[in-house]
Amino acid sequence: MPETILSKTVLDCAKLTTREINQQLKALASEGIEQVEVVNPAGRHNLAIALEHPITISFQGSVGYYCGGLCDRATIEINGSCGWSVGENLMSGQITVQGNASANAGASAHGGKICILGNAGPRAAISLKGATLIVSGNVGHSSAFMMQQGRFIICGDAGENLGDSIYDGQIFVGGTIKSLGADARLEPMTAQDWELLTQELHPLGLDAKAYEFKKIVCAQELYHFKAKDFSKWKDAY
């Protein structure tokens, strides 16, 4: 369809500075361009940062640190892996990574959805503030550290100190958990939880029932800390 070709724009990172790429993406988004393909990202940091209008961006290759950070309503697909802090402080919209993510995936993300169709490194969902982070593979140690709100769905295994110093929110793990952090506890899965997982995973081609999901929430034992309860937090990260 000619319309499809006309509304699709291609940006070549090899010819532009990072600032120019972000300025052009912002300009295209505010002009109402629906779809942009970004080629040759070559692991560059800070791509597609703080876009404030709906736009669909497809990165052809792996990206560096902070990809899609602070975005509001953008849809970003990364056809490759990503570096540290993908979707950091995401406000809304969706980021899908067709590969692995390094450390701090979804750090402090307020809203929207981040899907890692691979493994994520340490500290995934650190300080998550309301977004949904889905990892189809495993996550590293100290994931969901100081998580505050939102949902963190891990289909594979979780590393040490999962949910350490968690305030609120829900973590679901389909595989094994190496250890829980301070103030994180297991809670029985409900029919509602399974419904939620099915809803979230189905669009990614994943069957929630194929995993033995466990639910982790905050034990709330550190909400009102007293010095005599030192043992409750002495092993905190």
Binding site: G43, R44, P122, G140, H141
Partner: protein, 242 residues
């Protein structure tokens, strides 16, 4: 922030590429460490000591000044520095070489540096700079001089050295990559039948000549020690020569 990189060849036919490959790796890492740079290149000759080239300034200047693109060897490590706790001069650049053919490049900060230095000085170690990374070099060298194998020395180091560190240590026949227990500093490993390339960031690997994008990359876990040996390769080379 600093940049570290390393190259180990499995195939002696690639030895001629060492200078070119290692400098390709650290060039893009200049943005992580614009102050100074340095490399330790282990040649395939009988000498045990690596060639150390380091100074304040850009990677390209260092490479051109000493003709490093043409240096051959079995393995090497490199560094780009962003100074955080000591002066910027040639002595404080990486790699650090405490002796016995050992060299290290480090990204991070050692938080128990003064205590560590005091202990090592009590054991007779002489420090030449105020760079905390030098303490890592001396610590490993000291452990080796006590008769510990490199593997044990590095396991002990993970307990004894606090702070954030991802570092590479090279000996005349080994290269090791160590990450602290928080995995606070980055590293990416690219391994093929021909070679191992290690860099702080993925984008540095892309500049490697003959980089194969289909090879899965690996990030070492927190507290993980990786050691690659060049002994098997060297032995094969010696047999081929004799």
């Amino acid at each position: 922030m600093c940049g570290i990189a390393g190259i180990i060849y499995h195939n002696p036919a690639s030895y001629q590429n060492l200078g070119r490959d290692l400098l390709s790796l650290i060039q893009p890492l200049e943005s992580r460490g614009p102050d100074s740079c340095g490399v330790a290149l282990y040649s395939d000759t009988d000498t045990q000591e690596p060639g150390i080239y380091k100074e304040v300034g850009a990677v390209n200047n260092l490479a051109k000044k000493y003709g490093l693109y043409d240096v051959s060897g079995s393995h090497g490590i490199g560094h780009t520095r962003m100074a955080t706790e000591s002066v910027v001069d040639t002595n404080h650049c990486h790699p650090f070489t405490p002796g016995s053919g050992l060299s290290i490049v480090h990204n991070g900060q050692i938080s128990n540096y003064y205590k560590l230095r005091f202990k090592l000085e009590q054991a007779g170690v002489v420090f030449e700079t105020h760079n905390d990374s030098e303490a890592i070099a001396h610590y490993i060298h000291h452990q080796l001089s006590l008769g510990e194998p490199l593997e044990t020395a590095l396991e002990k180091l993970l307990c004894d050295i606090d702070g954030t560190y991802t570092f590479l240590v090279a000996t005349p026949n080994k290269v090791a990559l160590v990450r602290d227990k928080y995995a606070a500093k980055p590293a990416v490993v690219y391994e093929t039948a021909e070679m191992v390339a290690i860099a702080s960031e993925y984008r540095a690997l892309l500049t490697l000549p003959h980089f194969d994008p289909t090879v899965p990359l690996r990030e070492p876990d927190a507290g993980e020690i990786n050691i690659w040996s060049t002994v098997a390769v060297t032995r094969e080379l010696l047999e081929a020569r004799s």
